[in-house]
Amino acid sequence: MKLLSGELLESRQLLPGQWLQRFHAPWLAGGAQAGQFVHVRTPDYSGLVLRRPFSINTFDRRSGEASIHFRVTGKGTEWLARMRPGDQIEMLGPLGRGFEVDPKSRHVLLVAGGLGMAGVRALADEALADNRQVVLLFGASTAREVYPSSLLPAEVEYVVATDDGSFGHSGRVTDLVGRYEAWADQCFACGPEPMLAAMARLAATRHQRLGVARLAGRGRGRQSPRGSSVARRRAWLQVSMEQNMGCAVGACLGCVIMGTDGPQRVCREGPVFASEEIEWDARW
């Protein structure tokens, strides 16, 4: 975790209201892992008091560049979208725990809903660099919200669903998971909470549907503690969660969600969790 400036290199509107910004931030790109995030400072403390968290959309250690992808939803993102190349943006990061990929996983399934693409995008690069096969399922409300395939590596098999059927599969992105659940060694998802909850239900019943024995943990003397890197690596589904955030370093407890082992900080124990760590129908 460092607190430094990044120089904006490129800012462009990717989709209506959605921006892709590329920064020169070697300290960030050098230390990042897919699934981590960065906390961006807003310009004027007397007006906007909180930083804004963004998934590290892509990063390149050699060039020292990292990118974020966001939708303009309020004053903070409006300000950020007005920034121009050469502007310095203060960032705190990389933050949180990223995705845990099992070294043995050869087939990686990524599932993204809308802006959730930014949460899993870097993992596509990382998995390909490690010679894994990647299928990316993407869901959007309509064709004009579909993430352009030109921004994805050619090796990624990209399958799209739209709610209104204007592009690709007509329906939810989670409808597509069944086709790949036997193929995938691990699955990583980011998107709206109802989508992630649907993914968690699929993951919980996957073994029954596939009729395969649960191998993880068999013959091992003891289970790794829930939430540990090892336990997450063994989970079939990892989800990247989102919540309103204050400090982003674990101090304020503003971004806490309910986990099966009690309250969990999205900024510190997450944003990535194994799906079984989340209490999906939490009662407080």
Binding site: M1, R51, N244, C247
Partner: protein, 325 residues
């Protein structure tokens, strides 16, 4: 250079031996237990850390969302999530015991007995420099009326904790009290060593996409620059009502804010919400305050305290009460 030889004294005496190196503290709830920001902040330079609110039993807190930005401020409804006093003593006090920076444990409760029991357990523990009482909690024994809004309740809880511990005791005022001076007097008369002013002000936000309150707990505490004028008013009023030191809190985000609180009668300030935007701010404010005092030819920042108060009044306290065991 003759001027450089004049040593600048930024120390603050909050009473009962709680002497801070400088008057810049960090506010409860915004700095966790002091361990979270360690990688980016020189934590040991801070005047004191007021840790996250601590209760007798562990608390899971409120459902999300717990925070949201509002015009020039934010709302939080964490719901006092904390591991309980036992958990705090086990997990964090051993770190604090080796620290230079004093850690003041913020204590919350639902009854006088709750507060007293937490204070008893903190008494004599290595690493605990003092107690800050969060009295903006509903008093279950009085139909849920907040201690901080009731002079009798505020005085009673202060007196009970005072009797239970010799630790330096600071009590945090609510900005919602109709006459905060009567509350402050009751607390001072009950034996508090210092006051902090103020806590957050209750507010809410609406999620219009869903047509319901935005926060999971409906209500949250307003903090940040939006609260500063209210907190300044409370400090100004209380400084004329009591003779114990006052620590100002509410939207401190710059040296100007620090100087405003000092002018209104605070001998020190707590930085809260601004830490989220700039974790390095508290340490920078120490340097900026020192530079300001040197530029003004002051020997101590305490010369600034209360300079905006009506001239006929006594100067507010810059020193804690003597303590004779």
């Amino acid at each position: 250079m003759g001027r450089a030889l004049v040593t600048l004294d930024l120390s603050v005496d909050l009473g009962r031996g709680l002497i801070l190196d400088n008057p810049i503290l960090v506010a409860s709830g915004t700095f966790g237990y002091g361990v979270e920001y360690g990688e980016v902040v020189d934590v040991q330079r801070i005047g004191a850390i007021c840790c996250k609110g601590t209760t007798l039993k562990p608390r899971a807190g409120n459902p999300p969302p717990r925070v949201t930005e509002t015009p020039a401020g934010m709302l939080n409804s964490i719901g006092l999530q904390n591991p309980g006093v036992k958990g705090v003593l086990e997990r964090y006090a051993p770190h604090w015991a080796g620290w230079q920076v004093p850690v003041v444990v913020n204590v919350a409760g639902e009854s006088v007995d709750d507060y007293v029991e937490v204070a008893r357990r903190l008494e004599g523990q290595p690493g605990i420099a003092g107690i800050e009482l969060n009295i903006s909690c509903p008093n279950v024994g009085k139909g849920g009326l907040q201690f901080a809004l009731d002079p009798d309740g505020a005085g009673a809880v202060t007196a009970a904790v005072r009797a239970a511990t010799d630790l330096p005791l600071m009590v945090k005022l609510s900005p919602a009290a109709p006459d905060v001076r009567t509350i402050a007097r009751a607390i001072a008369d009950a034996g508090a060593d210092a006051l902090s002013a103020t806590n957050t002000l209750s507010g809410m936000a609406i999620d219009r996409r869903r047509d319901r309150p935005l926060l999971g707990n409906t209500y949250g505490g307003l903090s940040g620059p939006a609260l500063k004028p209210v907190a300044l008013r409370v400090v100004y009023e209380v400084a004329q009502a009591v003779r114990i030191p006052i620590v100002g809190i509410g939207g401190v985000g710059s040296l100007d804010d620090v100087l405003d609180f000092m002018a209104a009668g605070a001998v020190a300030v707590q930085v809260g919400t601004a830490v989220f935007a700039d974790p390095t701010l508290p340490v920078r404010l120490i340097d900026e305050l020192a530079a300001h005092c040197r530029a003004e030819g002051l020997q101590t920042h305490r010369q600034l305290v209360g300079c905006a108060l009506p001239a006929r009044r006594e100067r507010p306290s810059t020193k804690g009460v003597e303590y004779l065991p």
